[in-house]
C-alpha cells in the first residue's frame, strides 16, 4: 500500500486514538491462572498476625493510563472459600459466628471513584458488601506494573490494602481487644480483553 503525504500522520493519529485516548482498557482478573490473591489478616491475641485468604473470587477492572481517575473495579468473593490453613478454624469462620456463609455466600466490592496519587499510588473508594452489610470503604492502591506477557497477552497488576472493624459489618464475635479489626490485602493481576 502506498501512503500519501497526509496518510501517514492520519494513520498514526488513528492508531494513538484507538489504543488509549478514548477507550479504557478492560481487564479480567486472572483467577484462572491464580495470579490474584485476596488475603486478610487479624491479630491473634495481640501477639501476632494471622493470615487467611479467599480461594474463589472473580472480577474485572478497567484502567486507562491517560485517565486513571476513571478506573473502576468490581470483585465478587465466594465466602465459603475462606482458607486459613486450618480446617477447624475455617469451619468456625464459615459459621454464624463469623462469615455465616450459608446466609451470605457472596461478598462484593464495587468501586465508586479512584483518586490517583503520586508514584503510582492512589485511593480507591467503593462499597463493600460483607455479611449482608454494605458500607463504603477506602482502599489504598499501589500500581505494581503493566506490560506484555510472554504468551501474547497484556497484563496489569495492583495491590490494595484496607482495614475495617468486623463489627461494622455485623460480625460481633469477640476475639479480644486487639483483634477487632481485619486488614484486607488484594493483589490482583488482570489480563486485557
Amino acid at each position: 500500500m502506498k501512503l500519501s503525504k497526509f496518510g501517514t500522520p492520519l494513520l498514526l493519529a488513528a492508531l494513538t486514538f484507538g489504543s488509549s485516548t478514548l477507550v479504557a482498557d478492560d481487564y479480567v482478573i486472572d483467577t484462572k491462572g491464580a495470579h490474584a490473591f485476596i488475603q486478610f489478616r487479624v491479630q491473634h491475641l495481640g501477639y501476632s498476625w494471622l493470615y487467611g485468604r479467599f480461594n474463589e473470587f472473580s472480577g474485572k477492572f478497567s484502567y486507562d493510563e491517560a485517565a486513571p481517575e476513571k478506573a473502576t473495579i468490581e470483585v465478587n468473593i465466594n465466602t465459603a472459600s475462606v482458607d486459613s490453613n486450618h480446617a477447624e478454624r475455617d469451619k468456625h469462620l464459615r459459621s454464624d459466628d463469623f462469615l455465616d456463609v450459608n446466609k451470605y455466600p457472596q461478598a462484593k466490592f464495587v468501586s465508586t471513584s479512584y483518586i490517583p496519587g503520586d508514584n503510582g499510588k492512589g485511593v480507591l473508594k467503593g462499597k463493600l458488601t460483607l455479611h449482608g452489610v454494605t458500607k463504603p470503604v477506602e482502599i489504598e492502591v499501589e500500581n505494581i506494573g503493566a506490560g506484555k506477557d510472554p504468551w501474547g497477552g497484556y497484563r496489569r497488576g495492583f495491590e490494595g490494602k484496607t482495614r475495617f472493624a468486623m463489627a461494622d459489618f455485623g460480625i460481633m464475635k469477640n476475639l479480644g481487644p486487639k483483634s477487632k479489626d481485619v486488614e484486607m490485602i488484594l493483589s490482583l493481576e488482570g489480563i486485557k480483553q
Binding site: A80, A87, E88, D90, K91, R94, K173, N174, G176
Partner: protein
C-alpha cells in the same frame, strides 16, 4: 461372673465394654455441645476439643474390640418372655447403635483431618489424615457428626427406656442381665 458370655448371662468383658461405651458416648456428647459454644478466651477452648478428640479416637478402638468380642462370644439368647416384635426391634436398634457409633467417630475424624493435620491422642500418639479432598470437607463432616450424634443419643434413650419398661412393666430380668445378674 465369668469373662465370656454364656447363653443365659453376659460376661464381665461385655458388661464392662457396654458401660464404658455408654459413659464415653454421653460424656463426649455433652463435651461436644459445650466446647463448641465456648468463648475464645475460655480456659477450655483448646483443652475441650483436645480431650474430645483423644477420647473419641480411643473409643473407636474400644468399639472395634467390642465388635470383635461380640463375634467371639455372642450375647446371651433373648428371654423366652420377649415377644417376636420386641426381639426384632431390639436387634435393629443394637445394630443401628453400632453403626451410628462408627459413623460418628469417622465423621469426627474427617473434620479434624480435613486439612491434612493428624489427630493427637493425648500426648501418646497421633492418627494421620487420609481423606482430605472432599469439597468443604470439614463443614459436611461437621454437619454429619452433629446430626448422627443427636440420632445416637435419641436411640440410646429409646434403648434405655425399653430396658426400664422390661424391668418395671414386664418385670423380667432384661435390665438386670447387663448388670451381670
Amino acid at each position: 461372673m465369668q469373662f465370656k458370655n454364656t447363653t443365659s448371662h453376659f460376661g464381665l468383658i461385655a458388661i464392662s465394654l457396654h458401660w464404658l461405651v455408654a459413659l464415653c458416648v454421653f460424656a463426649l456428647f455433652g463435651l461436644g455441645l459445650w466446647m463448641t459454644e465456648l468463648d475464645y478466651y475460655h480456659q477450655w477452648y483448646k483443652q475441650g476439643p483436645w480431650l474430645h478428640k483423644s477420647i473419641g479416637i480411643l473409643l473407636f478402638f474400644v468399639v472395634i474390640f467390642r465388635l470383635f468380642w461380640r463375634g467371639l462370644t455372642p450375647p446371651p439368647k433373648a428371654l423366652s418372655s420377649h415377644k417376636p416384635w420386641e426381639r426384632k426391634i431390639a436387634h435393629i436398634v443394637h445394630l443401628l447403635l453400632y453403626f451410628l457409633l462408627i459413623a460418628i467417630m469417622f465423621s469426627g475424624y474427617l473434620i479434624s483431618t480435613a486439612d491434612g493435620r493428624a489427630i493427637e491422642v493425648f500426648d501418646w500418639f497421633s492418627i494421620p489424615a487420609s481423606i482430605t479432598s472432599i469439597n468443604n470437607q470439614e463443614d459436611i463432616a461437621g454437619w454429619v457428626h452433629f446430626i448422627l450424634a443427636i440420632l445416637l443419643i435419641g436411640l440410646a434413650a429409646l434403648h434405655a427406656l425399653a430396658a426400664i419398661k422390661h424391668h418395671f412393666i414386664d418385670r423380667d430380668r432384661t435390665l438386670q442381665r447387663i448388670f451381670g445378674k
